[in-house]
């Protein structure tokens, strides 16, 4: 908009007609620049999404193929089955647990980070960013090595006389892997939110005889709420759809939604059911994201 105003100085008369045609030209330019990505996303994202939706209403035939005739909602009805429900609730529970643990660890850390001197703070931030950028698969695999048979974890528990604990292939291991993987996702938005708060507000609450807990509850926490919500969604969303972590650290008894969907496609060959499940998963994510934007979140 502004650019157009200034370019008016170049032309002699800015008649309404001229203004209009200039606006049209600008609009065409903008569309032209967006067009390649627009078309790309329609072809390789929107159409695939539509195909999943179509498949979710299709029927699986006896040979493990999919018949695209005879539409029905059977695949969606199957979600109410006990086995599926168990997996669904287990995934939800582990995702919530992961989010809460990340929050409890990350909040004091982010607060501490934001009270450091700028130079120290930058170094500390870099060391949070490094795991954030490091290969997720490898970081999960590292825990497989640590928790594995006769590995370092067993050594530590034995050293403290706690006996041998089998953590690998349990739900605990999966949560540990998820927390390890997604903790930076919680720390960074929390830090961004707390960093913006004026420390004098906290001081004021202390001057008014509020104790530490009261200043936290009534001042710090409400002011940092956008960060709490952003971080929670950034951790919850990938945890709910996790596939790699439960495959590496979980066992047969810890099937989660992500792995269950993959199984439908690669081994059980029930594509309509898998499509329905992945569509539901996406709907949950979409809903969460809309809530996030409604609450005034900006960065993803």
């Amino acid at each position: 908009m502004r650019k157009r105003e200034s370019s008016e100085h170049v032309v002699e008369v800015a008649t309404p007609e001229f203004e209009k045609s200039a606006q049209k030209k600008e609009s065409r330019r903008g569309l032209l620049m967006a067009l390649p990505s627009y078309l790309y996303l329609i072809l390789f994202f929107v159409i695939p999404l539509g195909i999943v939706l179509i498949y979710s209403f299709a029927t699986r035939n006896r040979f493990g193929g999919t018949d695209l005739s005879g539409w029905n909602v059977e695949s969606y009805e199957r979600i109410a089955e006990p086995i599926v429900r168990t997996i669904l609730f287990r995934s939800l529970w582990l995702a919530i647990l992961t989010t809460v643990i990340c929050l409890v660890i990350a909040y004091p850390f982010a607060y501490y980070l934001s009270t450091r001197k700028p130079t120290i703070r930058n170094v500390m931030l870099v060391f949070v960013m490094i795991p954030f950028w490091t290969n997720f698969l490898v970081r999960n695999y590292a825990w497989r090595v640590i928790l594995g048979n006769d590995g370092p974890f067993t050594k530590v528990t034995e050293f403290f006389g706690l006996g041998t604990h089998e953590l690998l292939f349990s739900q605990k291991a999966v949560v540990l892997g998820l927390v390890y993987g997604y903790l930076p996702f919680m720390i960074l938005p929390l830090y961004a939110a707390i960093e913006r708060i004026d420390g004098q507000l906290l001081e004021a609450s202390r001057d008014l005889y509020g104790n530490g807990w009261q200043s936290f509850k009534n001042v710090l926490l409400p002011l940092s709420m956008p960060g709490v919500i952003a971080g929670s969604i950034l951790v919850f969303v990938p945890s709910l759809g996790a596939y790699v972590t439960p495959e590496i650290l979980g066992g047969a008894k810890t099937t989660l939604l992500g792995s269950y969907i993959v199984t439908q496609f690669l081994t059980a060959r029930n594509w309509p059911f898998g499509a329905a499940l992945s569509f539901v998963l996406m709907a949950v994510m979409l809903l969460m994201t809309i809530i996030y934007f409604r609450k005034g979140g900006r960065t993803l």
């Binding site: 330019r29 994202f45 490091t134 997720f136 708060i197 990938p238």
Partner: protein, 276 residues
Amino acid sequence: MSNAVEPRGLSKIGLQINGWLVYLFFYAPIVLLVIFSFSDSRNVGKWGGFTLSWYEQFVDSSNARNALENSIKIAIVVTIISVILGTMSALALERFTFKGKRVFDALLYLPIIIPDVTMAVMLLLFFGEFFEVLDNLFGLQLRKGFWSISISHIAFNISFVSVVVRARLAGMSTHLEEAAVDLYASRWKAFRYVTFPQILPGIAGGALLAMTLSLDDVVITQFVAGPGWTTLPVYVFGLIRKGVTPLINSISVIMLLSSMLLVGLSLLAERTRRGG
């Protein structure tokens, strides 16, 4: 935090301990993995003396080398195309108004928030149908592999690049561009000599992010890679599921080092940006 009050007493000690524990939690597994990759023991988590044999095994393994080569080829193609498309969308969204802008904006966010598994399923079904149609129409013998993987990676990377570049554009005033236009620079020249140098760090950041995400992806790649085609993370994932061996340790460390190298480069780019 401005005007921060230095924590005192017990809370200070608590915060400090928590801080150290977080760093211990982040880095102990990585350090242990590096140590065990040099261990001369069949058990992946046991120290059995120093050896380089697992790295030698990696170099000797043609499968692993092949997978690494595929990963790098895909990452390069994906990065170039996503950076061009992502930057163009970022410019269109930040500097222009056009019909369908809001829809495009929303569409661009979707690949970021969609779960990996859902996107993998989508693309699996898509390539199944799409390749069949093309085969029937043109008699092509299309096989999933390099292009199906690259296309999928670009599909999510356009969005990530555009978010990074947009952040850079949003924080930049339009005054300089306006001045250039006032001085009779064409739109292209204004972009080439004024806008582009300013958003270059954003583009570099987006490129590194795209490259990292392409090199790291397991789930989507596994779904859209045809038989006999694999990238390094998918290869490693397959090995882990078959049973852990010390060879995985050494490959993991190599992957770890390559992502750290990329972070190092991005930090360096950041620094030169601030310095210059």
